[in-house]
Amino acid sequence: MSTRTLVSPATLARPRGRAVYWTVFTAVVVLFAIAFLFPVYWMVTGAMKSPDEVAKTPPTLVPEQWHLSGYGDAWDLMQLPQHLWNTVVQAAGAWLFQLVFCTAAAYALSRLKPAFGKVILGGILATLMVPAQALVVPKYLTVADLPLIHTSLLNDPLAIWLPAVANAFNLYLLKRFFDQLPRDVLEAAEIDGAGRLRTLWSIVLPMSRPVLGVVSIFALVAVWQDFLWPLMVFSDTGKQPISVALVQLSQNIQLTVLIAAMVIASIPMVALFLVFQRHIIAGISAGSTKG
């Protein structure tokens, strides 16, 4: 396991080296606790202070009295159940649409040799060069009045779901994975008379579980964290996801209630991360060596 790094094991074994090592180690632990864990602690406990206590200087490190009412008030006053539900619907739909359409398109590009396949793939990869945020305004105008059918998707979850499919990164990830699947297995399926859909469903997808997992996590996190796009397309307060609702409501709400709502909004993604941390961290680390 232990591979040689910058500092040699021999240096570390010496008493002086060991002292330096443990000093640095402690310093990093303290730094991490202050920089990353303390803000989170401050947020979680801030929501449990009374409105007077949260405004007090110097602040109290531990709430004098633990109020859980902040969380309850946030839940009720800010209509969190509804906004959380909106976010879940938007994220789940985007995930499903991406899995179905990106997988099918990636499979076609990888295995079915469509005419002009290379041109299409080039067009898809070219969108990687066009950062998404720079195109939000024309994208908004398109969603507000779809060409040919002249329908508006504003205030409709489809405004999140359909553009989510146009994700070149995920599509390319899937295509590259499909490219590397062993050829003979797929050929065997075809010789056994399995149709394209059947091959995709019962051979390709089960073999692609790792990449599907990565794409799923990316898809969910992207929708949950997004702000500018839902801010543009959901003007109807009742349809807004939690990120937009938090900002809209942050102006006229008591600080402790807002902080409680912020904690609640963070729980799903942090929980997802803690459950799948090994996969997520491995995925990000792998991303560095394979673009």
Binding site: T5, L6, P58, K113, V130, E187, I284
Partner: protein
């Protein structure tokens, strides 16, 4: 590049008895059927790319030369949108802020995670703990991070000034002062995003062969010399890639200024994307918004092209 031999040739399937017998007319029809099927799989994705990526990109350029009001037919106005946008005093402020933001994010937001990854790679204990903790802020929704720091930066009971008072240092206006607002936002963005950079750089550090360090040490290279002559050259490609990604991401900054400062004080934190948003949704000037988008697009497109070039060539090396 693409493996064209990934599938058996069409004839091999056509003659196979299990397959439906080829209809009269044979291979041409068969090929056509294959194509129809392939496009059936492609269709959903293709429509979405066409509608939400390709069409908007073209439309940005077209509307940049039009007077566009939703509901009425657009009028061609030549370069009037560009001239109007260029003469907006906010235009200069937005570009200056965005470029300063990008530069500061590169200096602070790149140097800190870089050093942190170097140190973390030397630690032999609690590895998983460090990786989880450093990535935790990335998983907190950006809106929550922004609101959290807005509260920390509160000049009254905010944590940032409390910390300064605790250390007996003079307090600051943080995001509320024209001089300090931009750097305060860079701190938020760094805090929220450095987890990804640290993890990617850590992975790159782990791929450096240990023999190189051993050889350098035998040659009498000091710690700093080993960093300079082994670590940095060995991870040069990842460093460059992360820098470009960082530039592309920070040039599109929106959430932090929108939530924390609202672009203020005195336009000190208006960014290009924020200005695009204002043109479209406050001034109802979609032509101006698209003119700005095209400018941003050209600049970011150049960086992205460079990034893709680098990742492609890196793959070929591997």
């Amino acid at each position: 590049m693409t493996r064209t031999a990934a599938r058996p040739p069409a004839e091999a399937i056509a003659v196979h008895p299990v397959q439906a017998p080829p209809p009269a007319g044979g291979r041409g029809r068969r090929r056509l059927a294959d194509q129809v099927r392939a496009y059936g799989f492609l269709l959903g994705g293709l429509i979405c790319f066409a509608l939400f990526s390709w069409y908007p990109a073209i439309r940005a350029v077209v509307i940049a030369f039009q007077k566009y009001t939703p509901g009425s037919s657009p009028e061609w106005v030549g370069t009037a949108n560009f001239t109007r946008v260029l003469h907006d005093p906010e235009f200069t402020a937005a570009w200056r802020n965005t470029l300063t933001f990008t530069l500061l994010a590169l200096l602070i937001g790149f140097a800190i995670p870089f050093l942190l990854a170097l140190v973390l790679n030397e630690l032999r204990h609690a590895k998983a703990f460090f990786r989880v903790v450093v990535y935790l802020p990335v998983m907190i929704p950006p809106v929550v991070s922004a609101l959290l720091w807005k509260w920390f930066y509160d000049p009254g009971a905010g944590l940032a000034n409390e910390a300064l008072r605790f250390l007996h240092l003079p307090t600051s206006n943080w995001s509320n002062g024209a001089d300090t607002a931009l750097i305060s936002l860079v701190a938020v963005a760094t805090w929220a995003n450095m987890g990804g950079t640290v993890l990617i750089y850590l992975a790159a550090l782990q791929s450096i062969p240990g023999e190189l360090y051993e050889a350098a040490e035998l040659d009498g290279a000091s710690l700093l010399q080993r960093i300079r002559h082994v670590t940095i050259p060995q991870t040069r490609f990842v460093i460059l890639m992360l820098m470009l990604l960082q530039i592309i991401a920070t040039m599109q900054v929106f959430t932090e200024p929108f939530v924390i400062t609202g672009g203020g004080p005195e336009n000190a934190t208006v960014t290009v994307l924020y200005l695009i948003y204002k043109y479209a949704f406050l001034y109802n000037d979609f032509g101006g918004a698209c003119a700005l988008s095209v400018m941003l697009l050209v600049l970011l497109g150049a960086f992205s092209a460079l990034y893709l070039r680098l990742t492609r060539s890196g793959e070929d090396d591997a």
